[in-house]
């Protein structure tokens, strides 16, 4: 297949998978645009933050920081804290994001939760080029988020007339479905076991230490657990 055909074929495979994310981004992006403008920022600010930072929760945090006093050290520490999970996404994708050429840089730069979730768990048919698929998922999510925050910044206030309480369930709904697909499709029970234990470990950490630190704590415990399983348990994955 020529490069153009490979790209197109992977695109037609990626688009329907990215669609549910686009829908959930749309509602969250509207919410973010509305939030930023309601704090007194002009309509273009949410979109600019979305396109430069491209990490949802960090964008909400940044709006808060922009309204407080100038504190570059806190900005740095807070970002590492909130986005530290990306380091683990990177570790997970080391062997997948390879031989991608120019597509590698944008794919890693736009490695958000949703793109990671799709690219780490989707079982691709042999005729779909993995590199192109990863890239398409990443830019589609990026574009959907940018457009949604723009619409939110411009028209978010019109939403005040509708009762949209509860629409935030689109994000948990999306992750549940991706996780389920991963459990149903995975080749080995060891992988399923790792998935379930990740969820259980996170629940335990959340209950013990609260919502601000449980992610980094769970990830650290996962590393230790993997090390023990690999070194002393003799666990191997093909």
């Amino acid at each position: 297949m020529s490069t153009v055909n490979k790209g197109r074929h992977a695109f037609s495979y990626a688009l329907p998978i990215a669609l549910p994310i686009g829908v959930s981004f749309f509602f969250i992006g509207l919410g973010f645009g509305l939030y930023a403008t309601s704090q007194g920022f002009p309509w273009w600010v949410p979109m600019v933050l979305a396109m430069t930072i491209f990490a949802g929760s960090m964008e909400f945090v940044t709006i808060g920081m922009l309204m407080a006093g100038f504190d570059p050290v806190t900005a740095f520490m807070l970002t590492l804290f909130v986005n530290g999970r990306h380091i683990f996404y990177g570790l997970s994708m080391l062997q997948k994001y390879t031989n991608m050429g120019w597509k590698w840089f944008p794919t890693v730069a736009w490695m958000c939760d949703e793109s990671f979730a799709i690219n780490a768990t989707t079982k691709l048919p042999d005729d779909v080029d993995a590199g192109w698929f990863y890239f398409h998922i990443s830019w589609l999510n990026y574009a959907a988020w940018a457009v949604s925050t723009l619409v939110g910044g411009l028209f978010g206030n019109l939403l005040a007339n509708y009762d949209l309480r509860g629409v935030e369930f689109v994000l948990p709904g999306l992750f549940i479905v991706i996780f389920l697909e991963m459990l149903l499709n995975s080749k080995s029970n060891t992988i399923r076991f790792f998935g379930i234990s990740g969820a259980v470990m996170a629940i335990v950490m959340l209950l013990l230490f609260g919502s601000s630190t449980f992610m980094l704590l769970s990830m650290t415990c996962m590393l230790v657990a993997c090390y023990i399983a690999y070194t002393w348990g003799g666990v191997r994955l093909d």
Binding site: F54, G90, R165, F169, P172, I176, S186, F194
Partner: protein, 107 residues
């Protein structure tokens, strides 16, 4: 905050975010063989990190006071059941969300 301070703040957030995304790839570049344990992590972590992400989206759910996380639990069960039955992502998410919205708006 002055405009220039705002730009610096956003720049710091952007650069630190990119740092978290690129770090693993910079430490273990392609071509250089990563240690076997790191390769193992690449296979084991996606599943566990995904499980953790599901929990992450529920981190602010109230369970100890009214409504005791009931709307969330019901919507989750419906989403999971519907998805196992039909295996249609959009349908599962849409129905789950609508059920959740009806519950939080009327209870």
């Amino acid at each position: 905050m002055t405009n220039i301070e705002m730009v610096i703040t956003v720049a710091i957030v952007v650069i630190s975010t990119l740092f978290t995304r690129f770090l693993s790839f910079l430490v273990f570049p392609t071509g250089k063989q990563a240690p076997p344990f790191v390769l193992f992590l690449g296979k084991a972590l996606p599943a566990s990190v995904m499980g953790m992400l599901v929990v992450y989206t529920f981190k602010d759910t109230t369970i100890l006071s009214y409504p005791y996380g009931i709307p969330t639990a019901v919507a989750c069960v419906i989403t999971i059941g519907l998805h196992i039955w039909k295996r249609n992502m959009l349908l599962s998410i849409a129905i789950g969300t609508i059920v959740y919205m009806v519950m939080v708006q009327n209870v």
